[in-house]
Symmetry: D2
Subunit: 354 residues, 4 copies
């Protein structure tokens, strides 16, 4: 209701500010009997955490997740899985410089207007730190969906875009380069570019593409609960996301029906897949693929003019250790949210017929 | 749950197949005391209905909405508003040609797989006919939001795109041309192009842009309930939609933070609006604007190879009277869904602080 | 949210005032493939409708339900089932005598204070007429639960109470007497008593008991979603209900644990059933039985002192044709709500383990 | 959905097993700007915790709540309030004696059947330990409802019942006696009786009554969301509860309408209050009062015959330190759940009219 829950059956509710005591969440509705690989959960946390490479923020956050309930002798019990991640590294910082200042294109102004009060330390609830909780839940959802393959990768950093269709990319490269892109040459270029941006004290946007293979048929609900609508919401709820398109996306708007229609093979598969694996909001078994647009991070290491809460003009200088480009670290977040959407629809679809 | 409801406080639930007895819905959570302009509701229905101009489908559907409850002496009473729209024109048609055939890029195949049964007459539940119910509810939501201005218009038909920023367009033109675009010259070109496409028995995609002015500050909820995430879901739930972007959107991914950040004026407004009126998922009072991508309609007036439910290859020929381009008629639907999202968040925001 | 929906998966949303155009509802989440016996639905409507016998109101309401969607060739399609029941008999009545008057122990005062406006004709939304929609949905839920037997009966009218345990009653008698009780002798006494009450222009309360046999094991969810908690809510939501108890109920509060504990047989059944078929909120397969308390109907055929909306004291005389005792007609409503609760939990329970 | 959340706007979701690492919860939807009295929260925890007196269980549980988020400089921020209560005292216990044994009238059997796995240590999720989380959230809800007075007290222990109407009781006595009853003489008798029951190794049921004074008018929603229906669900969701009645309750079923109707005074108050402060599911401003029935605790200190998970008959002996009568410690839980219901409806009611 108030925005901190996601999903209907497999449902995640999260809490926590970036500089409070801890962040955490509750996963309700995970079926009993799932053998959990706890290391796999922590491994996803490692993919998201700061300080993994020279092109992401050098903040230290251990991001160790403590699972507090809902698991017994290695298996889920059907009861809610509560978890907590301590905020270990951020307590003593000085935030007086942003206490009364609205950082441009951050949520300081809007939270203040909406709530009349805000935890100004490091962005509080609006910080991307909360995405750590999404990764925990997504890692469990992935284990529930064990036959489904969810692969996200960076498909653009600024103007540097992968132009090949995903079927011609080498997904095995993704975790081998710090940018998490699926093309060796482009990985080098993108890395160089991000380093240059960082030197400028600036940031740069990018896109992440995600491909879901071995999709079950029948996921998604009619009308308002379409698979891609919920997936779009999931992606748009990630910090810094500005757009979502699936299948032919915005490019498809320039095609004719005779070009765009996916002709069936006799086995029910299709010869093309402009539909992106979804027809009428329900999966047809083909790959479900989509693109997610991320704006450049708003925190830059340059002086900016802004205002304070009294409406006075002030200058603020960039401080702290921030990501020059958010997309490499957002890859596991995109996968996590994709897994949450699919797990929920997969369960819901078990009830579609008697 | 099963996908036929939208909203949390101001909540629409709909029912109905394109060729059943009737379609309809229930709006729950509309506050009491709202004086309803019933003609304004019907006027929105007229904007959506088929047969309005030479470039849309020539089907006749009167689409008269009967409001059955929740209104007394011209005002809402706080109880649910039930409504029904009879399906007057479609009963006697012959659908045997699609009974066992899966039309390419339609939902026939996926509904059949998901439910094991489907109402094959004219698309059934997956038909865009259900959007008439959205328009009813949206028209009421608009009246609730009386100071907010929601304007949608066609911004592209195939390759023909409006390139000017919306502030340079003339919104007063939109309802004066059958394409519902906001540029007089482009309206003529688009209309010509759609006519040509129809002659070819083909269809073409397009985009709709929507601008919301006089936005209240504070709409949207943290984390998963971000204003633009719910708006994205709303748009992606409309038939044929393939993508959604707001503010700088996909273009913004190529910008640097120093270019993209919206610098505040002393009154809290911003000098630029790459944010699209939303920061941290919450409205900041600037215009909230977004683009919606529509694929070309799947029903074409050409022969296509496809399969039947036995997995046999069959040829099907296009029949009936369909839209060569869906975007002109989708304009009021985009506005309706936008109104539903805003009404819901506007109510919810009344509870954000004590 | 605003109170007009019930259920999570198998979900009913209703609309309608007693004297508006029509009442109706939408059932979302009914699985596809259920062969519907439409006559059985209408038969349940007949059990609820006024004018069935000399001890209930003599109002004429045909209560014919029109099913508008979600059913194709006799089977549910998985899409929402919309339905409407016209209000045929009530249009021309004169309600000026209650327009500004708050009837004692009715909802006139509270609706007026809550909403600032109310449809005063015959109780509007607060009228028990809305229970007709519950009966429609319950009749479909019953068909989904085909192996479960739900039997409700009148167990008390005023001081006249059935004292035998339900296992000693003859359920085959219930529909054979106008009171719908399960004891032939008591049926005669209760009928006589109700007739006498009616002659006095008065009304009388009573209780309904409900027994659910062939209960599946495992229905109900932990903590807040306990089977009996949701059943209690379902029953308490019926007009005029003042209390709910299941299993040993209020009587069980006077027992010791050593008396009250249900000792297991080796097959998992229990020797006694003080638990009422529910342990820890989850069904154990034993009979689930409960009692529901109904107050006397507030509309009496006697003069009463009351106030109008200006806070002035006025006298009102009873008018119209009302039930002297509500329990005979409430029997199918209790069953319907029980069926809704069970159908919902039965579906939900399919997701409890992998 | 899966049962671990309560409320719609002011929403509590909980997690945790009695013998896991910790229990806890998330309160979403608490408005920003509420100054929280943290000591008052802990004081409610003290009222619920074991070991307070000689008539309750002598287990030691410190039940210190850690509030992890959503509070800044002493005020709520509108973001979710996450909290954790460590399970400090229970780690090393030996539960092998109940590992494969189904305790009579406990949830062991039903959880096992539903989930195929259960955390058998001390009841796991079905233990009343989870009610500590309800008390935390209820204590915050109470602070939100600062002008409303919620008073619960023990009204019966076994056959020992308070017979006076609540208006004649002395509420100031409640916290002065270990039974938490509102009558000095009865307090002594009840205490003696509970001690005797404990000596017998047995347990006894009882009832709690709750009176809510200074009720706002207009709380509750139509049809399914009636105030007393949600309150009934709230109470029935508490461990060991078997029944709920409000206002005249089951007694009211024996009255005539002419006796039961509450006649209005000119100021809108009523001369009697058989309605229990609720008409048509919506509060009328009079006291809202109700009774809650608790069965005797199932864990007794006597040998009982039962079965194990292989369906073999086994004997089990009572072990551990359990409450001989649950009602004294359940008083703050009843109040907490009442506060949750009221806070939620109080917020929701702000949206009832424009």
């Amino acid at each position: 209701m108030a925005g901190n829950s996601f999903g209907t059956i497999f449902k995640l509710t999260t809490f926590g500010e970036s500089h409070g005591e801890a962040i955490g969440g509750i996963i309700d509705g995970c079926p009993a009997g799932l053998s959990l690989d706890l290391e796999a959960i922590q491994a996803e946390m490692q993919r998201r955490k700061p300080g993994q490479s020279s092109i992401v923020t050098q903040r230290k956050e251990e991001d160790e997740v403590q699972l507090l309930s809902g698991i017994f002798e290695g298996k889920t019990t059907g009861t809610p899985i509560g978890f907590v991640i301590q905020n270990t590294n951020q307590k003593s910082r000085d935030y007086s410089h942003i206490k009364d200042t609205y950082r441009p294109s951050h949520a300081d102004f809007t939270y203040d207007k909406k709530y009349g009060i805000r935890d100004y330390r490091g962005g509080g609830r609006s910080s991307a730190r909360e995405t750590a909780c999404r990764v925990v839940a997504g890692a469990i959802a992935k284990q529930l969906l064990k036959n489904v393959t969810i692969t996200a990768y960076v498909s653009a950093v600024g103007e540097l875009q992968l132009t090949k269709p995903y079927s011609e990319l080498d997904f095995s490269q993704i975790e081998k380069n710090p940018v998490r892109t699926a093309d060796v040459d482009m990985a080098v270029q993108m890395e160089e570019y991000i380093k240059q941006i960082r030197k400028e004290g600036d940031t740069i946007g990018g896109t992440i593409s995600c491909v879901i293979e071995n999709m079950p048929v029948g996921l998604g609900e009619p009308v308002f609960g379409k698979l891609h609508a919920e997936m779009g919401k999931a992606m748009l709820s990630i910090n810094a996301v500005k757009g979502f398109e699936y299948g032919s996306g915005f490019t498809g708007t320039r095609l004719k029906g005779s070009q765009h229609n996916d002709i069936f093979n006799e086995d029910g598969s299709t010869q093309t897949n402009f539909s992106g694996g979804v027809q009428g909001g329900i999966s047809n078994g083909e790959d479900f693929y989509f693109n997610v647009a991320f704006k450049p991070v708003a925190t830059i290491m340059q002086n900016q003019q802004t205002i304070n809460s009294d409406g006075e003009s002030v200058e603020m200088s960039g401080k702290g250790r921030h990501d020059p480009c958010v997309v490499p670290r957002a890859v596991p977040i995109v996968e996590a949210m994709a897994a949450l959407v699919l797990a929920d629809f997969w369960l819901l679809n078990k009830l579609s017929k008697i």
